[in-house]
């Protein structure tokens, strides 16, 4: 009996915590289904008169929906670049010691610590001067500043968990380094790669300050579209809420598809 009681206690804690997380999101969804008159005129826990007008507006107007496409493009680019350069580096950090390795590792981490506010203006000038301003690749590269160090850090942790004997056996068996890395090593740390990709996606998707500074029209992210349209046309609460709900969707999809993978990935040594 005490065992059953404890499970129930945990369920209550989790229930309350999830409720705390979901209520503000529910409120946003609720507002996105109302008209502006209803939002400002009356107060109700659910929409009295459900309307999809706010969503229709966003999904049919290119100046709105292109924001989502732009964001997705640079996020995917950033995740690919970050992982591609972080994998070999993390391997080097986890397996070898070399001159300056500790300093280099800490230097990388300092970039994860650099406040984007410090870099906003210099980035603008740097990317303008090399002609990359308002392109997707500019934002993707800028986000590498904090995503690459994070990816190296996560992957290094996962790689340290793989016994070194595996490397040595593979070399004795005549594998070359690239072949060993791709055929044997990468599958072993697949969950680590999944977790690293998840974090890169997450931090690139949610960042606003740099992506807003580095874009004007062609690569403008959805987050920036939201702030500008709102300030220009007064407070259109319904559309704002609908746009907010739609920014949650890609994240929710990513988690949904990798949910077992993430649970496994987070479990580290127990897989």
């Amino acid at each position: 009996m005490p065992n059953r009681f404890r499970i129930n206690g945990s369920a209550v804690v989790m229930g309350l915590y999830l409720l705390f997380l979901l209520v503000p999101i529910y409120w946003l969804v609720n507002m996105s289904l109302k008209t502006n008159q209803e939002i400002l005129g009356s107060f109700s826990l659910w929409p009295q008169d459900v309307t999809f007008q706010n969503y229709v507006l966003i999904l049919t107007d290119p100046s709105w929906y292109m924001g989502y496409i732009n964001s997705l493009i640079y996020v995917v680019m950033n995740t690919a670049i970050s992982l591609a350069v972080a994998l070999p580096a993390a391997y080097a950090f986890s397996r070898y010691s070399f001159m300056g390795d500790k300093h280099l590792f800490f230097w990388l981490l300092t970039n994860r610590m650099a406040p984007p506010a410090v870099f906003a203006l210099p980035f603008f000038q740097l990317y303008s001067s090399v002609g990359l301003f308002d392109t997707h690749i500019a934002v993707a590269l800028a986000h590498c500043l904090f995503n690459v160090p994070l990816a190296v850090w996560i992957l290094e942790g996962f790689m340290r968990g793989v016994p070194k004997e595996i490397d040595e056996t593979a070399y004795i068996d005549g594998y070359s380094f690239p072949r060993f890395f791709i055929q044997i090593f990468t599958p072993l740390i697949a969950s680590g790669i999944g977790v690293a990709a998840f974090f890169c996606f997450m931090f690139s998707w949610v960042e606003l300050l740099l992506s807003r500074t580095l874009t004007a029209v062609d690569a403008k992210p959805i987050a920036a579209t939201m702030t500008r349209t709102v300030s220009a046309s007064g407070m259109d609460w319904g559309v704002l809420a609908a746009a907010g709900v739609l920014t949650i969707v890609p994240g929710a999809l990513v988690i949904y598809f990798v949910r077992n993978y993430i649970a496994k990935g987070f479990a580290l040594g127990r897989v």
């Binding site: 206690g9 945990s10 804690v13 989790m14 915590y17 999830l18 997380l21 503000p24 999101i25 946003l28 507002m31 107060f43 350069v85 070999p88 391997y91 397996r95 010691s97 070399f98 800490f106 300092t110 970039n111 994860r112 610590m113 650099a114 406040p115 984007p116 506010a117 410090v118 906003a120 203006l121 210099p122 980035f123 740097l126 590269l141 590498c144 500043l145 340290r160 997450m202 998707w205 949610v206 960042e207 606003l208 300050l209 939201m226 702030t227 609460w237 704002l240 809420a241 949650i248 994240g251 929710a252 988690i255 949910r259 077992n260 993430i262 649970a263 987070f266 479990a267 580290l268 127990r270």
Partner: protein
Amino acid sequence: MNKTVNQKAWFLVLPVLLLVAFSAVIPLMTVVNYSVQDTFGRNEFFWAGLEWFDEMLHSERMWDALGRQLMFSAIILAIEVPLGIFVALNMPKSGFWASFCLVLMSLPLLIPWNVVGTIWQIFGRVDIGLLGYTLDKIGINYNYTQDIFDAWVTVIVMDVWHWTSLVALLAYAGLQSIPDAYYQAAKIDQASRWSVFRYIELPKMAGVLMIAILLRFMDSFMIYTEPFVVTGGGPGNATTFLSIDLVKMAIGQFDLGPAAAFSLMYFLVIMAISWVFYTVMTTMDKKDGV
């Protein structure tokens, strides 16, 4: 793990080095450049030496912002870390409900930061937000745009809402890595729930918890978007944290020199504190390895 010395490993690190150097060193040098020069516009710059650093070190505005920032980071760490551990301890260990919780908990982490701000800005409004409306009906005088205390509470609750899951997920990962044998041994010894936590779970989570604390500290110390959207740094300057103040100075007033000097000192403070965390973490790693 004992590592082999191999200088050729530098080649594996080279791509990262070049990429990050391009995004970090060049802009950082621009900032250094601004911090020692004065300008009257039209791209004419004059040597100003350490004048800006001197000015910023004696500026009350910066010290106030730093004070608010330290207080904010301390409060959210004090709430989020214990709460995150507590939630992780109560999470289902496996099966459908574990995935269910993981998915829902990750949700706030993947919402763009300005949308997080927007959600709470709406949620706290007395006229159209659930939280503000309810508090108002109960008879609590709540107004985050006017009252300093309410503004702080709103920003802190928002951050707890936004980031506790990260701590919880990392702590959960640490818990999952504990072999069942440990728990069985504790059961045989008739260890209490508290001693299981204190002597088995906490030490095993120490590594990931350090990561969680380091991440939360760094991110809370450079928080910008969320409080900016919710309170705009107000009422008055009550929630003007370092990044908000910096952007005001650099882009709002275009005081490049002082802003650059400010940036560098800001960066140094973060680096210094993070170095302490990092050193503690690596020493712990070494102990673990033995």
